[in-house]
Symmetry: C2
Subunit: 148 residues, 2 copies
DNA sequence: GCTTTGAGTTTACAACTGTAGTCGAAACAT
DNA sequence: ATGTTTCGACTACAGTTGTAAACTCAAAGC
């Protein structure tokens, strides 16, 4: 039942910290701090605070190693990305999500393999895709008043 | 230079209000409040606050009509959706964005036309797609330590 | 004209966020 | 053993967000 728990809400600044730890798999605070000090002009205490909050939120695990801690991700990167993205999309009008995806895909750098994977999945999806996805912005639905 | 200004940062709750106004094109507060009271269990004053903040943020325009205001969107829906989505994606590891999109597309309800549009755009993109998009989580890049 | 009522404004307040200083204890060097 | 460096914990503080009550006018009704 404890399925990786992607529920924790990670803020923008915290996301930067997670990316470091996700990439390195494990890191001590010295490493995290020095890397982030390069990327942003954050002071060390700022980064310490972020790390602390992530630990409290259950996004990072700690392992005492001598005087200091080794931090490891407690939630996986891809599921966290997936659900953050889905959350964002689900907050928007269902009818316009497709267009938003088109626009976003246009602007994004995607690898050949990623584009191919998307093509494959969409090809499959094409068969069962409904003729239209109605707007879900109004309580009742959006009949009539919500034409594109 | 004043290109619709999609810069305003709209919070989750505020987004609900915008969706109503975007869908109706124009609405008075009574309408907005009554619709949102149905969807959520928000009290009227809560919704008034949200409307007020959106006006201050420049996301809604007001037109005095007798005793009350008519609210109209000052920013367009689709660009707002696009940039919110892009912002979210750009905050994540470049290397994994493609996979996130695949997962999200799988879980989303998309119309036939939307799927087709995505297929078209991706087909075009396929030709120029790079072999791989490197991880951009670490300051220097991510050579070696960032294998999938 | 005067009162009622409803729309917008102001105030409230806790939680979360971005940003950062300070402190105490532990580890290290001498 | 003592001074020093260092790491994590605690404190701080303003701005945003979610949530909502109170207040203030001016328009609408009588």
């Amino acid at each position: 039942m404890a399925t990786t728990e992607v529920t924790a809400t990670i803020s923008d600044a915290e996301w930067r910290v997670m990316r470091i730890v996700w990439t390195l798999k494990r890191a001590d605070s010295r490493t995290i701090i020095s890397l982030l000090e390069q990327q942003h002009d954050w002071k060390a205490p700022t980064i310490k605070t972020l790390i602390g909050r992530l630990v409290k939120k259950g996004a990072l695990a700690t392992t005492k190693q001598g005087r200091q801690f080794i931090y490891t991700p407690k939630i996986a990167e891809q599921p966290a990305m997936d659900s953050a993205l889905l959350r964002e999309l689900n907050q928007m009008c269902a009818m316009h999500r497709g267009t938003a995806l088109v626009h976003v895909v246009d602007q994004l750098d995607l690898s050949h393999a990623d584009v191919q994977a998307l093509l494959d999945h969409l090809q499959t999806k094409l068969e069962t895709a409904p003729d239209n996805v109605p707007c879900d912005c109004l309580p009742d639905g959006c009949e009539g008043s919500c034409e594109p």
